[in-house]
């Protein structure tokens, strides 16, 4: 693996050069209290001092709404059009290691058996520049699910802030090509030990003990009691870096229209409502149970990966302040 260094004062020029070259740069930007991944027009718009963005980097490749195809009438025929491929590369700058590790699950889900055309189209043209976490808060629990705050999975380039500048690990070919294009900003360097620049995140629970306890948790009698504050909005699933459920909607008029893929969430009642009116997950407690078991049990059984990366967004964003950490600990207690 190659290692580079970019001086602290040069990172601004590097980002501005990326933007000037026509690439779309998505970086953390502060709105009011929260920080979101947003298109930035210059380095100054990027938020530097934050723990975690409110929403994850999955939006760059699996956005909240995308056109699958458009259709129009032409006499007696119907013509379909594929969506235009993105013209330029997208650079996701400042992706935390938990989001990066989420791509293990996302790429398994979308690309492994039947590669998803739209996900692949965007993923191939997106370069992920990760950023090691130098601090965390009490809602981070990546270390409890087998991820470290300096994990390089999912990133094409990995940055770690040091006293001398940003230490960069070149992880993939895509990352290497980008560095070669902008080589004048980088200096060669030796491999360094990232430990002293990496946050120390305490384990919130023991994941192997959880694995044992969770397989029998479907009939746990405390699901209802622990999920009472949940009012069933979609925020946790939408901010989750590994949630992939989607809905397909058509919008059309007499001459044509489009088919869209949009985010969907199991937290909403209509997610499982049948056309007959029967709903197998009628109560919010049943929907909450589904979410927890999906994250810690079902995907493990199906894909051999947990679909929780410990980013803590669901806890920070929840308007009723439910906590997946508290929930898991409650299950462990029994």
């Amino acid at each position: 693996m190659e290692y580079k260094l970019i001086k602290l004062e040069k990172i601004q020029d590097f980002i501005n050069a990326l933007i000037a070259s026509g690439k779309q740069v998505l970086a953390p930007k502060q709105k009011k209290e929260k920080v979101f991944f947003s298109l930035v027009g210059s380095f100054d718009e990027i938020a530097m001092d934050y723990i975690q963005t409110a929403f994850s980097a999955k939006s760059a490749v699996f956005p909240k709404c995308e056109e699958l195809y458009t259709f129009e009438k032409n006499g007696k025929d119907t013509i379909l059009h594929n969506p235009p491929a993105p013209e330029n590369d997208t650079i996701v700058f400042g992706m935390r290691p938990c989001d990066g590790a989420a791509f293990d699950y996302l790429t398994t889900f979308f690309l492994k058996e039947n590669p998803d055309y739209h996900f692949k189209m965007r993923y191939d043209k997106t370069i992920f520049v990760g950023l090691t976490c130098s601090s965390g808060d009490e809602f981070c629990f990546c270390t409890s699910v087998g991820i470290s705050p300096s994990d390089t999975r999912g990133s094409d380039l990995m940055l770690t802030k040091t006293e001398n500048g940003y230490y960069m690990e070149i992880i993939t070919e895509k990352g290497k090509k980008l560095v070669e294009q902008f080589s004048n900003f980088f200096e060669q360097t030796e491999q360094i030990d990232k430990t002293k620049y990496t946050a120390n995140i305490q384990k919130r629970f023991d994941s192997s003990a959880l694995k044992e306890k969770i397989s029998g948790a479907f009939n746990w009698e405390r699901w209802e009691e622990t999920s009472l504050p949940c009012f069933g909005c979609g925020t946790c699933a939408f901010s989750c870096p590994t949630c992939t459920c989607f809905d397909i909607q058509d919008e059309a008029n007499l001459v044509g229209g489009a088919r869209y893929r949009i985010w969907d969430t199991c937290a909403l009642g209509i997610f499982t409502k049948h056309a007959s009116g029967h709903n197998p997950r009628e109560k919010q407690s049943e929907r909450w149970r589904n979410r927890i078991l999906h994250k810690f049990l079902y995907t493990d059984e199906q894909f051999v990966t947990l679909s929780c990366v410990g980013c803590g967004r669901c806890i920070r964003n929840c308007p009723a302040e439910l906590s997946i950490i508290e929930q898991v600990n409650a299950i462990m207690e029994g």
């Binding site: 709105k31 009011k32 209290e33 929260k34 979101f36 409110a54 929403f55 909240k64 709404c65 009490e138 809602f139 209802e224 009691e225 009472l228 504050p229 009012f231 069933g232 909005c233 979609g234 925020t235 939408f238 901010s239 809905d247 909607q249 919008e251 869209y260 949009i262 985010w263 969430t265 909403l268 209509i270 009628e282 109560k283 919010q284 407690s285 806890i315 964003n317 308007p319 009723a320 302040e321 906590s323």
Partner: protein, 266 residues
């Protein structure tokens, strides 16, 4: 605080209630919703001006049906929501035990009429910061306002947290779920999002009690509370009907006056 805890404890031990909905300390010091079923749990009960979640939103949850009598610790928004829900026949008098804390003293409401009186005597003045923000928006040109709102609403992800957090949004089947006809586009395009927020604002016009939960729950930090606030202000100034203050229904959009202004009609 100890007066509150003692009182609720007594309600439990004398069998008056078997569930108490209140608050406990949240992650940033504010109050988060908490459900107490045993008096031993009550040492975590808190109530202060940072307890802003409107607990009336939980009252129609089916999981609560198994409790025979529920007590609710109500902040001002919750009291107004209870009145509005009663006016709309969603809750009955005596169905819940309602408590609040004012000037350090615990107040127990004997019935909904007592809440009506309390609300009438304590209606707060509108928040000046919010009025200033509205004035600022209204001073912009039409194009600037359109640009501002369509841009803000474009970032909506249609999580429906605003709908879920609102105690007055209790429809078993929301208009958005209707597809014959499709009134509101489901995909979060600029159009679908604008349609959703227009429908939400119109369905809450004259019913919104101004608790601000919609805006607090919004994960994208969109100032949606201003849409319903503006409509409420317009209804109060045009028709004098204030939601969440009367037990008798007095809904602006199902009533009319013969001399309602019509200077915009040709």
């Amino acid at each position: 605080m100890s007066e509150l805890i003692n009182k609720v404890s007594q309600f439990f031990s004398s069998g008056i209630i078997d569930l108490f909905i209140g608050y406990k300390k949240g992650r940033l010091g504010e109050g988060k919703p908490a459900f107490f079923t045993k008096p031993e749990q009550l040492n975590e009960l808190i109530f202060d001006e940072n307890c802003i979640v409107n607990l009336a939103v939980y009252l129609r949850k089916p999981e609560l049906k198994k409790y025979s009598k529920i007590g609710v610790l109500a902040n001002f928004g919750t009291l107004r929501a209870l009145l509005q829900l009663a006016a709309e026949n969603q809750i009955a008098d005596g169905q819940y035990l309602i408590l609040t804390v004012a000037d350090g003293k615990v107040l127990e409401f004997a019935n909904l009429k007592a809440i009506e009186e309390y609300v009438a005597n304590n209606l707060p003045k509108p928040n000046p910061e919010r009025i200033a923000f509205l004035k600022e928006i209204e001073s912009k040109s039409r194009e600037e306002r359109w640009e501002f709102w369509t841009r803000e609403l474009a970032s909506c992800i249609r999580c429906y947290a605003c709908r879920a957090a609102c105690p007055l949004c209790y429809c078993e089947q929301c208009l958005v779920e209707c597809n014959q006809p499709q009134w509101v586009g489901v995909p979060p395009t600029g159009m679908g999002n604008l349609e959703w927020h227009i429908v939400r604002a119109m369905h809450l016009a004259g019913r919104c009690i101004g608790c601000g939960e919609c805006e607090a729950a919004c994960p994208m930090e969109i100032p949606i509370g201003f849409l319903t606030q503006k409509l409420n202000m317009a209804i109060i100034s045009n028709f004098g009907q204030v939601p969440g203050t009367k037990l008798e229904p007095d809904y602006a959009l199902s009533t009319f006056k013969v001399d309602d202004k019509e200077n915009f009609i040709r």
